[in-house]
């Protein structure tokens, strides 16, 4: 179907620059998710790709053609909106048929295309109903139906699941992944929900303050976050960041002393680090287990069954979180001794950039 290249896209609203030079190359048939906190510019970027907003500068290239000056329909994209944007006065059939009516296709063709879309989305029974008579998930499917009916090259989704309840959202995630496989189309999906991003994306674009922090596969982002921002944004509960000081660097790795006293030798590429540099050591709660070396006073304990998540602080007041086994023998108010495999640690320099891990899991290659 189609590739999409964004070349140095910027966007300013008055004096405030919301996109600061975005460069992305999205491959054919790829499912790419734009993720980031509110206000990071992800929706604006999607609207620029859609042609609903004009970029202040930069080019949008679809299948080798610069489409920056074209209307949405001529770009070969279609879009599913957060609110679904269904026309309440039209039936499901007419809602799905809307783009075809705009094209003034003959009635028989409209009927067969709508019927095909309805079949894919299991809406055949609902075609004569009005959107108001449908459930949230069905409305969502109608919105998708309207977007697939005219066979676009690229599908754009703007937070399409955020209006659904949690259970339905899980189902729709699976359905969307399935749909992507069935249609074999390029899809771009905007969300603020990292679970949606991790589960559906081939590759994720993490946006922060109008810039791309990292563009990579979910496992790359998880195991090799490029910056401290990505590291804390991806993963649940959030990564612990413990301030530390560089003691030295040799073949075994970077020797550091955590604020609080513990010393670790971390297998990261620390060639650029100098003795005495201030750094931060990132430890994912799920990598921490009961052991020796780190101690934490538990303030809040959340037992989820499979895991027990403890929130509290270390001796020096550093906030800390650990995901321990479900049956771990801990209690609120208690001090527990913990440890972490040095290979699981992430190290960030003072600017927030990562020092590359040398012993990361094979999956992240």
């Amino acid at each position: 179907m189609a590739t999409l290249n964004l070349q140095n896209i910027t966007k300013s609203f008055g004096a405030s620059q919301v996109l600061k030079g975005i460069d992305l190359a999205i491959k054919d048939k790829e499912f790419v998710v734009f993720v980031g906190p509110s206000g990071c510019g992800k929706s604006t970027l999607l609207r620029i790709v859609a042609g609903l907003e004009e970029a202040t500068s930069g080019a949008i290239v679809i299948e080798g053609t610069d489409v920056s000056a074209l209307a949405p329909v001529d770009r070969g994209i279609s879009m599913v909106f957060q609110s679904y944007a269904l026309y309440p006065h039209l039936t499901v059939f007419e809602n799905i048929a809307f783009p075809l009516r705009v094209q003034k296709l003959p009635e028989t063709e409209v009927k067969s295309k709508v019927a095909k879309a309805a079949e894919i989305l299991q809406l055949t029974e609902k075609l004569q109903l009005k959107p108001g008579q449908l459930s949230g998930g069905q409305r969502q499917r109608v919105a998708i139906g309207r977007s697939i009916v005219r066979n676009p090259k690229i599908f754009l989704f703007d937070e399409p699941l955020s209006n659904l309840d949690a259970a339905l959202r899980g189902d729709m995630r699976v359905e969307l992944s399935q749909l992507h496989r069935d249609l074999a189309a390029t899809m771009i999906y905007v969300t603020h929900d990292q679970v949606e991003a991790m589960t559906m994306a081939h590759r994720i674009v993490v946006l922060n303050a109008g810039k791309v922090e990292q563009f990579g596969t979910p496992m790359e982002l998880y195991h090799h976050p490029a910056t401290r921002f990505v590291a804390t944004f991806i993963g649940q509960p959030n990564m612990n960041l413990v301030p530390a000081k560089v003691l030295g660097y040799d073949t075994r790795g970077l020797a550091v002393e955590l604020d609080g006293g513990a010393q670790l030798t971390l297998p990261v590429d620390g060639a650029a680090a100098k003795k005495g540099d201030r750094i931060e050591v990132g430890m994912r709660p799920e990598n921490i287990h009961l052991g020796q070396g780190l101690s934490m006073k538990v303030r809040v304990l959340e037992r989820l069954g499979g895991t027990s998540i403890t929130y509290g602080h270390m001796d020096n007041g550093q906030r800390f979180c650990a995901a321990l086994p479900g049956d771990a023998d801990v209690a609120e108010g208690q001090t527990v001794d913990l440890s972490i495999n040095p290979a699981d640690c992430h190290v960030f320099d003072a600017s927030g950039a990562v020092l590359r891990r040398l012993m990361a899991p094979a999956l992240a290659a």
Binding site: L52, A71, M79, F81, S83, A85, Y87, P88, F98, R101
Partner: protein
């Protein structure tokens, strides 16, 4: 809802206020109706008597004889008001949509100017308007009543409808735009069908406005008896010798009957339309 629950004294207060208000509004109509039922001899009876055994609908019969063109006047009123409404809507719909959705220079200034125009009643502009009508050779035609009517009602129409169109979610139009629909297509197939309650509100208020204001233009710009609307035609009940008050009131009530009927049918839209978008649904 709990907050809608009133105690007995609050209820008495509310109903008492409604009673005062309705009395104030409706008393003239009651008096009109009473006058229309009374024989002339009774109307000037002293002392004043509210009730009599002589009430009859005789005036509703006599008025057609006394003023043979009465039916025509009523139809003229409806015709002029309808034409004003249709023409006003033709201008108001695209204008209101433009004000609701497009960005253009002097947008808020021109919108304010429309409101300012409303501060001039037709009366202060009668002489210039007369000259305009004269120049365009429109005096003594229906158009002399229709055109000024349209001109004075467009501003309010734009304000009313713009507020309504702004409440229609922008995403619906964006979705249509992404699917290749033009502005006009979107207006026709998406915006207007959703704005029907708003269109009814604006249409009805324009109609009522047109019905009420045509008197001034009729007596100034039109000398042709056959074109006069009801309000001007009522003058014919004022004779050289006497005024047939009972027939005049009967004719006035008969004349506003069509408007009242339209109102009754559309009032649910009016209430819904005037408060639309006030709360999230």
């Amino acid at each position: 809802m709990l907050m809608d629950r009133y105690n007995i004294w609050q209820k008495i207060g509310i109903y008492a206020a409604i009673l005062v208000f309705l009395t104030f509004i409706l008393l003239p109509f009651v008096e009109m109706f009473r006058t229309s039922l009374s024989p002339m001899s009774h109307l000037f009876h002293s002392p004043y008597e509210f009730w009599t055994t002589e009430f009859s609908f005789q005036a509703y019969h006599d008025m057609w004889i006394k003023v043979p063109l009465l039916g025509r006047y009523i139809l003229n009123s409806i015709y002029v008001a309808t034409m004003v409404t249709v023409l006003t809507m033709i201008f108001v719909i695209p204008a209101a949509y433009a004000y609701a959705r497009l960005e253009f220079p002097f947008k808020s200034i021109s919108l304010g100017a429309f409101l300012a125009v409303n501060m001039f009643t037709g009366a202060v502009l009668l002489i210039p308007l007369y000259r305009v009508m004269q120049t365009l050779s429109l005096l003594n035609t229906y158009w002399s009543m229709i055109i000024p009517g349209v001109a004075f009602l467009i501003p309010t129409g734009i304000w009313l409808l713009r507020g309504y169109l702004e409440k229609i979610p922008r995403e619906l139009e964006e979705a249509a735009f992404v699917d290749g629909a033009s502005r006009i297509y979107t207006l026709r197939r998406v915006v207007l069908p959703l704005a029907v309650p708003g269109l009814i509100v604006v249409g009805v208020s324009v109609f009522i406005g047109a019905y009420a204001q045509q008197y001034l233009f009729a007596i100034t710009f039109n000398q042709v008896r056959e074109y006069q609307p009801l309000a001007a035609g009522l003058f014919e009940f004022i004779g050289y010798q006497s005024v047939e008050w009972n027939q005049m009131m009967a004719a006035a009530l008969t004349g506003i009957l069509p408007v009242i009927i339209v109102f009754l049918f559309l009032q649910k839209y009016l209430v819904a339309g005037l408060t639309a978008g006030a709360v999230k649904e």
